[in-house]
């Protein structure tokens, strides 16, 4: 049984936000425009945060691309009153948009602020319509959404592998953000399979996870010479 996870090498990330853009178009994320940005209601399943520490001239800055952490002990799934979010048997924390009642308890329970609410009815400008991804459902107003590790790509890869009569290989299933990263900072794979690069990198001495002390056991690891 696979345990899907991600390693993001912060020493390689140059903050280009290709991952954000790829995620947007892959996952049919609504275009909020300046209004949503002003109201702080934009949706970005993958979000490149800028961390700035210290004061000038002793400033250290870095980019931290942040998807859903797909915690092994997710605080968000515990609190959902209708089981609209849960961790599947391969460790991916999923969302059932058609069941969510929009109470936003999971968004409050998440210590990483990576769950997004559809405050307004989502807008997809007509120019983007031909590019909508038919494999990903468009969310209605009033529900929570978040990064799914592009689990629709896993379904597809598994079907292809089955048709070819073979096992799933390491590069068959890669989320859009990892696919698009020009510096190869984002590595994806099975954390429990020692032949996968992600499993090796997760044990790297540079590896750490966000808010590790909370005990949420995220499956997104970061690599950095600092920290």
């Amino acid at each position: 049984m696979a345990r899907w996870g991600m390693v993001i090498d912060l020493d390689r990330c140059n903050g280009c936000q290709a991952c954000e853009t790829a995620c947007r178009s892959e996952n049919n994320i609504a275009v909020g425009g300046p209004q949503a940005a002003g109201e702080h209601r934009t949706i970005s399943w993958m979000h490149v945060r800028t961390e700035i520490e210290g004061e000038w001239p002793d400033v250290r800055a870095r980019f931290v691309p942040q998807p859903c952490m797909h915690c092994d002990r997710p605080p968000c799934t515990m609190v959902c009153p209708v089981q609209a979010t849960s961790k599947d048997h391969e460790g991916i924390v999923n969302q059932i948009y058609a069941r969510c009642i929009g109470c936003r308890y999971c968004a409050n329970a998440c210590p990483y602020t990576v769950k997004f609410f559809n405050w307004h009815a989502p807008v997809h400008p007509s120019s983007t319509e031909p590019g909508l991804n038919p494999d990903v459902s468009v969310r209605p107003v009033g529900v929570i959404e978040k990064c799914t590790f592009c689990s629709h790509r896993l379904q597809k890869a598994r079907e292809v592998a089955r048709a070819d009569g073979r096992q799933l290989r390491e590069h068959d299933y890669v989320p859009a953000c990892a696919d698009s990263c020009p510096t190869g900072a984002i590595v994806f794979g099975d954390l429990d399979d020692p032949s996968h690069r992600v499993a090796e990198l997760a044990r790297d001495p540079r590896a750490f996870r966000l808010q590790e002390g909370l005990g949420t056991q995220p499956k997104v690891f970061y690599l950095s010479r600092r920290d």
Binding site: H40, M78, C100, C103, R104, N108, A109, Y112, F117, V143
Partner: protein, 450 residues
Amino acid sequence: MTDLEIVSGLAQDERVLLMPLVRTTKTFWRWAIVMAAVAGWGAFAYVYQLSHGLGATGLNTPEYWGIYIICFVFFIGISHAGTLISAILRVANAEWRRSITRSAEFITVLVIGFGAVQPILDLGRPDRVLNVFLHAQAFSPLLWDVLSIGLYFTASSVYLYVPMIPDLARIRDLGLRPRALYAFLAIGYQDTPAARHTLERIIGILAIAVIPIAVSVHTVIGWIFALTLKPMWHSAIFGPYFVIGAIFSGIAALIIAMTILRRVYRLEAYFKDVHFNNMGLLLFVTTVLWFYFTFAEHLTVWYGGEASELATLYAKLTGDFAVPFWTMVACCFVVPFALMSRRATRNVAGTTIASIAVVIGMWLERFNIVVPTSLHPRIGAPPVHYIPSWVELSIMSGTLAGFILVYMVATKFFPIISIWEIQEGREKSVNEVSERVASYLPDDLAMVDS
């Protein structure tokens, strides 16, 4: 004979206490129209929100919860006035309760619905609210909340209704209108000593059963916050802290209701100075308890010194939320402590002023719990504030007005002071109490030895 003539011919207790049922003043109608208008405006605001989505609120990405959840905690807190206080006073055999319990129980039953509806107003998909039952997830504190509030509403409705049966039977026998309503509600009760005995036994059981249910309601509401990992929410003290806060605001709401009822229905002889003094003492005790819990909570956060907890704490003490925080301290502690610690100010005016301060302060307390924490997530400080929209403020006003309206209407159909319990107090309790006090006194040694 008209209803008014029937009631005018009765002896004092029944005449005074049934008068609101048969005589309605112009002032009543004026206030009722104002309240109905405000409630209607709130309903319009909700329809607006339904068609525009929750985007019509001032909420945003880390500030997922706002006015609706604040009002949810606030109104459910107010609902603790009634049933819990009434049950405690009954169980403790506090004789001064007799004129207070009914008005208190009405607050509970009528406000709890307005409180319970707030999280539904807050839902992104209110059309799917039944999923809470269809896809129930037993580990969610929200589900526990639905269950405990449902149980509390049921228990407190029964606890309001059962002690009202003898009064309803009396009204049925007097033939007041609407006759069908009173005949139905009186369920064929005849006021015989045997019936009265059974009734009092049932009330005794209900009063005890309802106390743990009431405690569970606000404990679970506290847990909704405490069971997340958020700074200043994740606190083991929240269950009991919320229960104390609820009783605190509940007592204050009850005092305000007593003051208004006393004035508009000329009930000075029933809500006497001693009632306000005793309620004032209860308010004093809960003031001190509230301070103790609040101090313990904030000291623990400050001493622990965890970065994200401290950021939230200092936002309250000296930062963006200093005004609501220190106003809360003034309203919840300074004002009620100053007024309620002295006998001279534990009169009608003093307790009412303290109570108004407490109700405002307890609303602010819930604001200070919900908003500063939301705006200080562990990751990613948001560049925004939370400013409630007109929709949220309208729905809040509408909720309050709706509660006042149904309470006003209830006083027109049901005696707001229990008539039979007052009469029982006059006829039986005076003797019972002197016997009870005699039984507290030391026995005669000569008698014990033999």
